[in-house]
Amino acid sequence: MVAAELHTAAGNPAATPDPGAIRVENVDVTFAEGTVVALKDVSVEIPQGAFVTILGPSGCGKSTLMRAIADLVPAAGGVIDVQGQSPRDARRDRNFSYVFQDATLLPWRTALENVQLPLEVGGAGDAHADPRDLLELVGLKGRENALPHELSGGMRQRVAIARALVTKPKILLMDEPFGALDEITRDKLNEEVLRIWRETGTTILFVTHSIPEAAFLGQYVLMLAAHPGRVKEFMKVELPSERRLADRDTLEFVQITAHLRKLLEEC
Protein backbone atom coordinates (compact mmCIF):
# COMPACT_ATOMS: atom_id res chain seq x y z
CA MET A 1 0.00 0.00 0.00
CA VAL A 2 2.83 2.26 0.92
CA ALA A 3 4.56 1.57 -2.35
CA ALA A 4 1.46 2.21 -4.46
CA GLU A 5 0.95 5.49 -2.70
CA LEU A 6 4.41 6.74 -3.35
CA HIS A 7 4.46 5.73 -6.99
CA THR A 8 1.39 7.72 -7.84
CA ALA A 9 2.93 10.58 -5.95
CA ALA A 10 6.10 10.33 -7.98
CA GLY A 11 4.13 10.10 -11.17
CA ASN A 12 6.15 7.05 -12.15
CA PRO A 13 4.39 4.88 -14.71
CA ALA A 14 6.29 1.75 -13.68
CA ALA A 15 4.23 1.39 -10.55
CA THR A 16 5.20 -2.22 -9.88
CA PRO A 17 6.86 -2.28 -6.50
CA ASP A 18 8.98 -5.37 -7.20
CA PRO A 19 12.26 -4.45 -8.85
CA GLY A 20 13.63 -1.73 -6.60
CA ALA A 21 15.58 1.08 -8.15
CA ILE A 22 18.57 0.19 -6.02
CA ARG A 23 19.16 -3.01 -4.08
CA VAL A 24 22.04 -3.15 -1.63
CA GLU A 25 22.70 -6.53 -0.03
CA ASN A 26 25.20 -7.23 2.74
CA VAL A 27 27.61 -4.70 1.35
CA ASP A 28 30.98 -4.08 3.00
CA VAL A 29 33.29 -1.28 1.95
CA THR A 30 36.78 -1.10 3.35
CA PHE A 31 39.65 1.33 2.91
CA ALA A 32 43.40 1.09 3.43
CA GLU A 33 43.57 -2.57 2.43
CA GLY A 34 40.78 -3.68 4.70
CA THR A 35 42.05 -2.03 7.87
CA VAL A 36 39.37 0.67 7.87
CA VAL A 37 35.80 -0.60 7.67
CA ALA A 38 33.60 2.17 6.24
CA LEU A 39 30.47 0.10 5.73
CA LYS A 40 29.61 -3.22 7.35
CA ASP A 41 26.88 -5.54 6.12
CA VAL A 42 24.62 -2.82 4.74
CA SER A 43 21.35 -3.94 3.18
CA VAL A 44 18.61 -1.69 1.90
CA GLU A 45 16.17 -1.60 -0.98
CA ILE A 46 15.22 1.71 -2.54
CA PRO A 47 11.80 1.56 -4.23
CA GLN A 48 11.43 2.80 -7.78
CA GLY A 49 10.66 6.52 -7.89
CA ALA A 50 11.19 7.06 -4.17
CA PHE A 51 12.88 10.00 -2.50
CA VAL A 52 15.19 8.59 0.15
CA THR A 53 17.33 10.73 2.41
CA ILE A 54 20.37 9.26 4.10
CA LEU A 55 21.09 10.61 7.55
CA GLY A 56 23.70 9.73 10.14
CA PRO A 57 26.55 11.02 12.26
CA SER A 58 29.74 12.01 10.50
CA GLY A 59 31.91 9.05 9.65
CA CYS A 60 28.95 6.71 9.27
CA GLY A 61 29.66 6.16 5.61
CA LYS A 62 26.73 8.06 4.07
CA SER A 63 28.81 9.32 1.20
CA THR A 64 30.66 6.02 0.93
CA LEU A 65 27.37 4.20 0.39
CA MET A 66 26.48 6.66 -2.38
CA ARG A 67 29.92 6.34 -3.91
CA ALA A 68 29.68 2.56 -3.86
CA ILE A 69 26.32 2.73 -5.64
CA ALA A 70 27.86 5.16 -8.18
CA ASP A 71 30.86 2.89 -8.87
CA LEU A 72 33.25 5.47 -7.41
CA VAL A 73 34.46 3.04 -4.72
CA PRO A 74 34.38 -0.75 -4.98
CA ALA A 75 32.42 -2.89 -2.54
CA ALA A 76 34.60 -5.40 -0.70
CA GLY A 77 31.66 -7.74 -0.26
CA GLY A 78 27.97 -8.05 -0.98
CA VAL A 79 25.91 -7.11 -4.00
CA ILE A 80 24.80 -3.74 -5.32
CA ASP A 81 22.15 -3.74 -7.98
CA VAL A 82 21.22 -0.51 -9.78
CA GLN A 83 18.22 -0.80 -12.10
CA GLY A 84 19.00 -4.49 -12.41
CA GLN A 85 22.63 -3.86 -13.31
CA SER A 86 25.99 -3.74 -11.61
CA PRO A 87 27.06 -0.21 -10.64
CA ARG A 88 29.63 -0.23 -13.45
CA ASP A 89 27.11 -1.13 -16.15
CA ALA A 90 24.58 1.28 -14.72
CA ARG A 91 27.21 4.02 -14.88
CA ARG A 92 28.06 3.19 -18.49
CA ASP A 93 24.38 3.14 -19.42
CA ARG A 94 23.89 6.50 -17.69
CA ASN A 95 21.22 5.09 -15.41
CA PHE A 96 22.16 7.47 -12.64
CA SER A 97 23.58 10.94 -12.21
CA TYR A 98 25.56 12.30 -9.31
CA VAL A 99 25.32 15.74 -7.73
CA PHE A 100 28.32 16.56 -5.56
CA GLN A 101 28.61 18.89 -2.58
CA ASP A 102 30.69 21.14 -4.81
CA ALA A 103 28.88 22.18 -7.94
CA THR A 104 32.04 21.04 -9.83
CA LEU A 105 31.22 23.24 -12.80
CA LEU A 106 33.99 23.77 -15.32
CA PRO A 107 34.78 27.47 -14.77
CA TRP A 108 35.52 28.22 -18.42
CA ARG A 109 32.16 26.91 -19.60
CA THR A 110 28.91 28.85 -19.49
CA ALA A 111 25.95 27.50 -17.55
CA LEU A 112 24.54 26.03 -20.76
CA GLU A 113 27.85 24.49 -21.82
CA ASN A 114 28.22 22.94 -18.37
CA VAL A 115 24.80 21.35 -18.67
CA GLN A 116 25.82 19.99 -22.09
CA LEU A 117 29.02 18.39 -20.79
CA PRO A 118 27.51 14.93 -20.13
CA LEU A 119 26.37 14.82 -23.75
CA GLU A 120 29.91 15.35 -25.02
CA VAL A 121 31.75 12.64 -23.12
CA GLY A 122 31.51 8.97 -22.28
CA GLY A 123 30.09 8.00 -25.66
CA ALA A 124 26.72 9.54 -24.88
CA GLY A 125 24.38 9.21 -27.79
CA ASP A 126 21.11 8.26 -26.15
CA ALA A 127 17.96 10.20 -25.66
CA HIS A 128 18.55 13.25 -23.56
CA ALA A 129 16.71 16.28 -22.27
CA ASP A 130 17.06 19.73 -23.80
CA PRO A 131 19.70 21.62 -21.79
CA ARG A 132 17.81 24.90 -22.19
CA ASP A 133 14.60 23.38 -20.86
CA LEU A 134 16.51 22.04 -17.88
CA LEU A 135 17.99 25.43 -17.06
CA GLU A 136 14.45 26.75 -17.14
CA LEU A 137 13.33 23.89 -14.90
CA VAL A 138 15.92 24.84 -12.28
CA GLY A 139 14.96 28.51 -12.56
CA LEU A 140 17.92 29.80 -14.54
CA LYS A 141 16.20 30.90 -17.72
CA GLY A 142 18.11 33.87 -19.13
CA ARG A 143 21.38 32.92 -17.43
CA GLU A 144 22.44 30.35 -20.06
CA ASN A 145 25.55 32.28 -21.05
CA ALA A 146 26.71 33.19 -17.55
CA LEU A 147 30.06 31.82 -16.47
CA PRO A 148 30.12 30.01 -13.11
CA HIS A 149 31.94 32.83 -11.31
CA GLU A 150 29.10 35.15 -12.31
CA LEU A 151 26.58 32.94 -10.51
CA SER A 152 25.88 32.62 -6.79
CA GLY A 153 26.57 29.38 -4.91
CA GLY A 154 22.91 28.41 -5.06
CA MET A 155 22.72 29.11 -8.81
CA ARG A 156 25.84 27.03 -9.43
CA GLN A 157 24.25 24.11 -7.63
CA ARG A 158 21.12 24.58 -9.76
CA VAL A 159 23.31 24.28 -12.87
CA ALA A 160 24.81 21.12 -11.41
CA ILE A 161 21.32 19.69 -10.93
CA ALA A 162 20.37 20.57 -14.50
CA ARG A 163 23.58 18.90 -15.68
CA ALA A 164 22.67 15.78 -13.70
CA LEU A 165 19.22 15.66 -15.30
CA VAL A 166 20.36 16.13 -18.90
CA THR A 167 21.00 12.41 -19.40
CA LYS A 168 17.45 11.65 -18.20
CA PRO A 169 18.74 9.39 -15.42
CA LYS A 170 16.41 6.98 -13.66
CA ILE A 171 18.24 7.70 -10.43
CA LEU A 172 19.65 10.90 -9.01
CA LEU A 173 22.34 10.53 -6.35
CA MET A 174 22.73 13.76 -4.39
CA ASP A 175 25.67 13.84 -2.01
CA GLU A 176 25.07 16.73 0.43
CA PRO A 177 24.35 19.00 -2.52
CA PHE A 178 23.28 21.96 -0.36
CA GLY A 179 25.72 21.43 2.49
CA ALA A 180 27.77 24.49 1.61
CA LEU A 181 24.85 26.85 1.10
CA ASP A 182 23.22 29.28 3.51
CA GLU A 183 19.96 28.24 5.10
CA ILE A 184 17.68 30.52 3.08
CA THR A 185 19.09 29.31 -0.24
CA ARG A 186 19.01 25.77 1.03
CA ASP A 187 15.32 25.95 1.99
CA LYS A 188 14.42 27.30 -1.42
CA LEU A 189 16.39 24.61 -3.21
CA ASN A 190 14.81 21.95 -1.01
CA GLU A 191 11.38 22.96 -2.26
CA GLU A 192 12.66 22.99 -5.83
CA VAL A 193 14.19 19.54 -5.56
CA LEU A 194 10.84 18.23 -4.37
CA ARG A 195 9.17 19.89 -7.33
CA ILE A 196 11.72 18.46 -9.76
CA TRP A 197 11.26 15.03 -8.20
CA ARG A 198 7.50 15.24 -8.69
CA GLU A 199 7.87 16.49 -12.27
CA THR A 200 10.49 13.98 -13.42
CA GLY A 201 9.61 10.90 -11.37
CA THR A 202 13.27 10.21 -10.80
CA THR A 203 14.38 8.07 -7.88
CA ILE A 204 16.41 10.32 -5.61
CA LEU A 205 18.95 9.33 -2.97
CA PHE A 206 19.94 12.35 -0.95
CA VAL A 207 22.70 12.46 1.66
CA THR A 208 22.41 15.12 4.33
CA HIS A 209 23.37 15.73 7.91
CA SER A 210 20.52 18.08 8.57
CA ILE A 211 17.62 16.43 10.40
CA PRO A 212 14.95 18.88 9.11
CA GLU A 213 16.23 18.50 5.57
CA ALA A 214 16.14 14.71 5.81
CA ALA A 215 12.58 14.73 7.15
CA PHE A 216 11.30 17.43 4.81
CA LEU A 217 12.63 15.87 1.61
CA GLY A 218 12.47 12.15 2.23
CA GLN A 219 9.58 9.82 1.80
CA TYR A 220 11.96 7.50 3.53
CA VAL A 221 14.89 8.19 5.79
CA LEU A 222 17.77 5.75 5.83
CA MET A 223 19.55 6.23 9.15
CA LEU A 224 23.11 4.97 9.33
CA ALA A 225 25.16 4.41 12.50
CA ALA A 226 28.92 4.88 12.67
CA HIS A 227 31.96 2.74 13.47
CA PRO A 228 31.46 0.75 11.43
CA GLY A 229 28.88 2.28 9.07
CA ARG A 230 25.73 0.18 9.24
CA VAL A 231 21.99 0.57 8.82
CA LYS A 232 20.32 1.86 11.97
CA GLU A 233 16.83 2.21 10.57
CA PHE A 234 14.95 2.59 7.30
CA MET A 235 11.78 4.45 8.08
CA LYS A 236 8.93 5.99 6.16
CA VAL A 237 8.19 9.64 6.78
CA GLU A 238 4.47 9.84 7.48
CA LEU A 239 3.84 13.16 5.78
CA PRO A 240 1.96 13.98 2.59
CA SER A 241 4.26 13.93 -0.43
CA GLU A 242 3.19 17.45 -1.40
CA ARG A 243 5.16 19.46 1.14
CA ARG A 244 5.74 23.13 1.77
CA LEU A 245 8.37 24.81 3.86
CA ALA A 246 5.71 25.97 6.31
CA ASP A 247 4.86 22.32 7.00
CA ARG A 248 8.03 22.18 8.99
CA ASP A 249 6.38 24.11 11.79
CA THR A 250 3.57 21.57 12.20
CA LEU A 251 3.42 19.27 15.19
CA GLU A 252 3.70 16.15 13.02
CA PHE A 253 6.89 17.38 11.44
CA VAL A 254 8.43 18.29 14.78
CA GLN A 255 7.51 14.86 16.13
CA ILE A 256 9.32 13.23 13.23
CA THR A 257 12.44 15.34 13.63
CA ALA A 258 12.39 14.69 17.38
CA HIS A 259 12.23 10.97 16.68
CA LEU A 260 15.11 11.22 14.19
CA ARG A 261 17.16 13.22 16.65
CA LYS A 262 16.63 10.57 19.31
CA LEU A 263 17.70 7.84 16.87
CA LEU A 264 20.76 9.87 15.90
CA GLU A 265 21.80 10.16 19.53
CA GLU A 266 21.68 6.39 19.89
CA CYS A 267 24.02 5.92 16.94
Binding site: D71, L72, Y98, T104, L106, P107, L117, G122, H149
Partner: protein, 271 residues
Amino acid sequence: MAEASQIPMPVPAPRMSRVLDAVLDRGPALAAVAGLLLLWQGVVWYFEVPEYMAPSPIAVLGAFQDNAGTLWLNFWPTFFEAALGFVAGNLVAILLAIWFVHNTTAERAFFPIAVFINTIPIIALAPVLVLIFGNGFAPKIIIAGLICFFPTLVNMVRGLKAVSPATLDLMRVLSASNWEIFWKVRLQSSLPFLFAALKIASTTCVIGAIVAEWIGSNFGLGALIIEATFNFRSPLLYATVFTAALLAVVMFALVSFAEAKFIRWKTSDVH
Protein backbone atom coordinates in the same frame (compact mmCIF):
# COMPACT_ATOMS: atom_id res chain seq x y z
CA MET B 1 43.88 35.60 -30.63
CA ALA B 2 41.85 35.38 -33.78
CA GLU B 3 38.66 35.36 -31.73
CA ALA B 4 39.47 38.76 -30.30
CA SER B 5 37.11 40.54 -32.63
CA GLN B 6 34.23 38.22 -31.78
CA ILE B 7 34.20 38.97 -28.08
CA PRO B 8 31.63 41.67 -27.47
CA MET B 9 33.28 44.68 -25.91
CA PRO B 10 31.56 47.07 -23.54
CA VAL B 11 30.40 50.29 -25.13
CA PRO B 12 33.36 52.67 -24.91
CA ALA B 13 33.00 55.87 -22.94
CA PRO B 14 33.46 59.19 -24.81
CA ARG B 15 36.95 59.32 -26.18
CA MET B 16 38.31 62.41 -24.44
CA SER B 17 37.46 61.31 -20.94
CA ARG B 18 38.96 57.89 -21.59
CA VAL B 19 42.25 59.41 -22.66
CA LEU B 20 42.17 61.67 -19.63
CA ASP B 21 41.42 58.70 -17.37
CA ALA B 22 44.31 56.77 -18.83
CA VAL B 23 46.71 59.66 -18.28
CA LEU B 24 45.49 60.19 -14.72
CA ASP B 25 45.71 56.47 -14.10
CA ARG B 26 49.33 56.25 -15.19
CA GLY B 27 50.19 59.73 -13.92
CA PRO B 28 52.35 58.66 -10.97
CA ALA B 29 54.33 56.19 -13.09
CA LEU B 30 54.89 58.72 -15.88
CA ALA B 31 55.92 61.40 -13.37
CA ALA B 32 58.39 58.99 -11.72
CA VAL B 33 59.98 58.10 -15.07
CA ALA B 34 60.23 61.76 -16.07
CA GLY B 35 61.74 62.59 -12.68
CA LEU B 36 64.37 59.86 -12.94
CA LEU B 37 65.35 60.98 -16.47
CA LEU B 38 65.69 64.57 -15.24
CA LEU B 39 67.78 63.40 -12.30
CA TRP B 40 70.01 61.38 -14.62
CA GLN B 41 70.46 64.34 -16.96
CA GLY B 42 71.14 66.62 -13.98
CA VAL B 43 73.78 64.32 -12.47
CA VAL B 44 75.59 63.96 -15.80
CA TRP B 45 75.62 67.74 -16.27
CA TYR B 46 76.50 68.68 -12.72
CA PHE B 47 79.37 66.20 -12.27
CA GLU B 48 80.50 66.59 -15.87
CA VAL B 49 80.50 62.82 -16.37
CA PRO B 50 82.38 61.94 -19.56
CA GLU B 51 80.11 60.52 -22.25
CA TYR B 52 81.98 57.21 -22.66
CA MET B 53 81.42 56.52 -18.94
CA ALA B 54 77.73 57.37 -18.75
CA PRO B 55 75.91 59.26 -21.50
CA SER B 56 73.07 61.63 -20.66
CA PRO B 57 69.49 60.82 -21.70
CA ILE B 58 69.75 63.44 -24.41
CA ALA B 59 72.90 61.77 -25.78
CA VAL B 60 71.11 58.41 -25.76
CA LEU B 61 68.19 59.94 -27.61
CA GLY B 62 70.71 61.28 -30.13
CA ALA B 63 72.18 57.80 -30.50
CA PHE B 64 68.70 56.45 -31.24
CA GLN B 65 68.37 59.03 -34.00
CA ASP B 66 71.84 58.53 -35.49
CA ASN B 67 71.77 54.74 -35.34
CA ALA B 68 68.12 54.08 -36.11
CA GLY B 69 69.06 51.98 -39.14
CA THR B 70 71.66 49.91 -37.27
CA LEU B 71 69.33 49.31 -34.33
CA TRP B 72 66.49 48.31 -36.63
CA LEU B 73 68.72 45.93 -38.60
CA ASN B 74 69.96 44.27 -35.44
CA PHE B 75 66.56 44.24 -33.76
CA TRP B 76 65.10 41.74 -36.21
CA PRO B 77 67.61 38.87 -35.79
CA THR B 78 67.26 39.06 -32.01
CA PHE B 79 63.48 39.21 -32.21
CA PHE B 80 63.49 36.26 -34.60
CA GLU B 81 65.75 34.18 -32.33
CA ALA B 82 63.83 35.06 -29.18
CA ALA B 83 60.43 34.38 -30.74
CA LEU B 84 61.48 31.11 -32.34
CA GLY B 85 63.22 29.99 -29.16
CA PHE B 86 60.08 30.93 -27.21
CA VAL B 87 57.86 28.84 -29.47
CA ALA B 88 60.23 25.84 -29.64
CA GLY B 89 61.18 25.77 -25.95
CA ASN B 90 57.61 26.11 -24.74
CA LEU B 91 56.26 23.62 -27.24
CA VAL B 92 58.74 20.96 -26.14
CA ALA B 93 58.00 21.77 -22.49
CA ILE B 94 54.22 21.49 -23.02
CA LEU B 95 54.47 18.21 -24.90
CA LEU B 96 56.82 16.79 -22.29
CA ALA B 97 54.46 17.89 -19.51
CA ILE B 98 51.56 16.12 -21.23
CA TRP B 99 53.68 12.99 -21.49
CA PHE B 100 54.75 13.21 -17.84
CA VAL B 101 51.19 13.59 -16.60
CA HIS B 102 50.08 10.47 -18.44
CA ASN B 103 53.18 8.40 -17.76
CA THR B 104 54.68 8.48 -14.29
CA THR B 105 57.62 6.33 -15.38
CA ALA B 106 58.53 8.92 -18.00
CA GLU B 107 58.28 11.65 -15.41
CA ARG B 108 60.52 9.76 -13.00
CA ALA B 109 63.04 9.02 -15.75
CA PHE B 110 63.31 12.40 -17.44
CA PHE B 111 62.39 14.98 -14.83
CA PRO B 112 65.78 14.74 -13.07
CA ILE B 113 67.47 15.29 -16.42
CA ALA B 114 65.34 18.36 -17.01
CA VAL B 115 66.34 19.65 -13.58
CA PHE B 116 70.00 18.98 -14.40
CA ILE B 117 69.82 20.90 -17.69
CA ASN B 118 68.17 23.74 -15.83
CA THR B 119 71.05 23.92 -13.34
CA ILE B 120 73.66 24.52 -16.06
CA PRO B 121 74.25 28.28 -16.28
CA ILE B 122 73.11 29.45 -19.69
CA ILE B 123 76.34 31.47 -20.02
CA ALA B 124 78.30 28.25 -19.69
CA LEU B 125 76.15 26.44 -22.20
CA ALA B 126 76.36 29.09 -24.90
CA PRO B 127 80.00 28.44 -25.97
CA VAL B 128 79.33 24.70 -26.12
CA LEU B 129 76.42 25.24 -28.48
CA VAL B 130 78.36 27.73 -30.60
CA LEU B 131 81.10 25.12 -31.03
CA ILE B 132 78.56 22.58 -32.16
CA PHE B 133 76.23 24.68 -34.28
CA GLY B 134 78.51 27.47 -35.47
CA ASN B 135 77.64 31.14 -35.17
CA GLY B 136 74.42 31.19 -37.18
CA PHE B 137 70.89 31.36 -35.84
CA ALA B 138 70.69 27.81 -34.49
CA PRO B 139 72.60 28.17 -31.19
CA LYS B 140 70.76 31.39 -30.34
CA ILE B 141 67.36 29.83 -30.90
CA ILE B 142 68.37 26.78 -28.88
CA ILE B 143 69.54 28.90 -25.96
CA ALA B 144 66.46 31.10 -26.06
CA GLY B 145 64.40 27.91 -26.10
CA LEU B 146 66.33 26.28 -23.26
CA ILE B 147 65.84 29.26 -21.00
CA CYS B 148 62.04 29.10 -21.56
CA PHE B 149 61.86 25.37 -21.21
CA PHE B 150 62.10 24.64 -17.52
CA PRO B 151 59.60 27.08 -15.93
CA THR B 152 57.02 26.06 -18.52
CA LEU B 153 57.62 22.35 -17.94
CA VAL B 154 57.19 22.66 -14.17
CA ASN B 155 54.14 24.92 -14.40
CA MET B 156 52.45 22.88 -17.10
CA VAL B 157 52.86 19.64 -15.13
CA ARG B 158 51.36 21.37 -12.11
CA GLY B 159 48.56 22.86 -14.19
CA LEU B 160 47.61 19.58 -15.82
CA LYS B 161 47.44 17.98 -12.38
CA ALA B 162 45.48 20.84 -10.85
CA VAL B 163 42.09 19.22 -11.36
CA SER B 164 40.01 18.79 -8.23
CA PRO B 165 39.23 15.21 -7.14
CA ALA B 166 35.54 16.11 -7.28
CA THR B 167 35.83 17.05 -10.97
CA LEU B 168 37.59 13.76 -11.67
CA ASP B 169 34.77 11.96 -9.82
CA LEU B 170 32.29 13.79 -12.03
CA MET B 171 34.13 12.73 -15.18
CA ARG B 172 34.23 9.16 -13.93
CA VAL B 173 30.48 9.12 -13.25
CA LEU B 174 30.10 10.39 -16.82
CA SER B 175 32.30 7.47 -17.99
CA ALA B 176 34.66 9.93 -19.69
CA SER B 177 37.81 8.47 -21.24
CA ASN B 178 41.28 9.68 -20.28
CA TRP B 179 41.46 11.50 -23.59
CA GLU B 180 38.16 13.27 -22.90
CA ILE B 181 39.32 14.21 -19.39
CA PHE B 182 42.52 15.59 -20.89
CA TRP B 183 40.80 17.49 -23.65
CA LYS B 184 37.75 18.78 -21.76
CA VAL B 185 39.26 19.38 -18.34
CA ARG B 186 43.01 19.15 -17.88
CA LEU B 187 44.09 21.29 -20.79
CA GLN B 188 41.76 24.15 -19.88
CA SER B 189 42.57 24.09 -16.19
CA SER B 190 46.30 24.19 -16.98
CA LEU B 191 45.98 27.46 -18.93
CA PRO B 192 46.44 29.86 -15.98
CA PHE B 193 49.57 27.94 -14.97
CA LEU B 194 50.81 27.87 -18.55
CA PHE B 195 50.38 31.60 -19.03
CA ALA B 196 52.15 32.35 -15.74
CA ALA B 197 55.13 30.45 -17.19
CA LEU B 198 54.81 32.01 -20.65
CA LYS B 199 54.99 35.47 -19.11
CA ILE B 200 58.30 34.56 -17.50
CA ALA B 201 59.48 32.97 -20.73
CA SER B 202 58.47 36.00 -22.82
CA THR B 203 61.22 38.08 -21.21
CA THR B 204 63.82 35.39 -20.51
CA CYS B 205 63.84 34.26 -24.14
CA VAL B 206 65.17 37.74 -25.06
CA ILE B 207 67.89 37.35 -22.44
CA GLY B 208 68.75 33.94 -23.92
CA ALA B 209 69.03 35.31 -27.45
CA ILE B 210 71.22 38.24 -26.37
CA VAL B 211 73.54 36.10 -24.24
CA ALA B 212 73.98 33.73 -27.15
CA GLU B 213 74.82 36.65 -29.44
CA TRP B 214 77.55 37.78 -27.04
CA ILE B 215 79.39 34.51 -27.38
CA GLY B 216 79.68 34.25 -31.10
CA SER B 217 77.84 36.53 -33.44
CA ASN B 218 78.26 39.50 -35.69
CA PHE B 219 74.59 40.43 -35.81
CA GLY B 220 71.78 41.05 -33.37
CA LEU B 221 71.36 43.33 -30.36
CA GLY B 222 73.76 41.18 -28.31
CA ALA B 223 76.53 41.62 -30.85
CA LEU B 224 75.77 45.34 -31.03
CA ILE B 225 76.07 45.61 -27.23
CA ILE B 226 79.52 43.99 -27.34
CA GLU B 227 80.65 46.14 -30.25
CA ALA B 228 79.40 49.39 -28.70
CA THR B 229 81.09 48.55 -25.40
CA PHE B 230 84.47 47.74 -26.96
CA ASN B 231 84.41 50.93 -29.02
CA PHE B 232 83.32 53.11 -26.06
CA ARG B 233 80.22 54.14 -28.00
CA SER B 234 78.26 54.45 -24.79
CA PRO B 235 75.20 56.30 -26.16
CA LEU B 236 74.77 53.52 -28.72
CA LEU B 237 75.24 50.90 -25.97
CA TYR B 238 72.46 52.49 -23.91
CA ALA B 239 70.21 52.80 -26.93
CA THR B 240 70.76 49.11 -27.68
CA VAL B 241 69.98 48.14 -24.09
CA PHE B 242 66.73 50.11 -24.24
CA THR B 243 65.86 48.47 -27.55
CA ALA B 244 66.42 45.02 -26.00
CA ALA B 245 64.21 45.99 -23.06
CA LEU B 246 61.56 47.21 -25.47
CA LEU B 247 61.67 43.86 -27.25
CA ALA B 248 61.09 42.04 -23.96
CA VAL B 249 58.20 44.37 -23.11
CA VAL B 250 56.60 43.73 -26.51
CA MET B 251 56.89 39.95 -26.03
CA PHE B 252 55.41 40.24 -22.53
CA ALA B 253 52.54 42.39 -23.79
CA LEU B 254 51.75 39.89 -26.55
CA VAL B 255 51.57 37.04 -24.04
CA SER B 256 49.43 39.10 -21.65
CA PHE B 257 47.09 39.96 -24.51
CA ALA B 258 46.76 36.29 -25.47
CA GLU B 259 46.12 35.40 -21.84
CA ALA B 260 43.31 37.92 -21.53
CA LYS B 261 41.69 36.47 -24.65
CA PHE B 262 42.10 32.81 -23.67
CA ILE B 263 41.26 32.91 -19.98
CA ARG B 264 38.16 35.01 -19.66
CA TRP B 265 37.03 32.92 -16.71
CA LYS B 266 40.07 33.58 -14.57
CA THR B 267 40.97 37.15 -15.32
CA SER B 268 37.41 38.38 -14.90
CA ASP B 269 37.34 36.62 -11.54
CA VAL B 270 40.27 38.63 -10.24
CA HIS B 271 39.19 42.24 -10.63
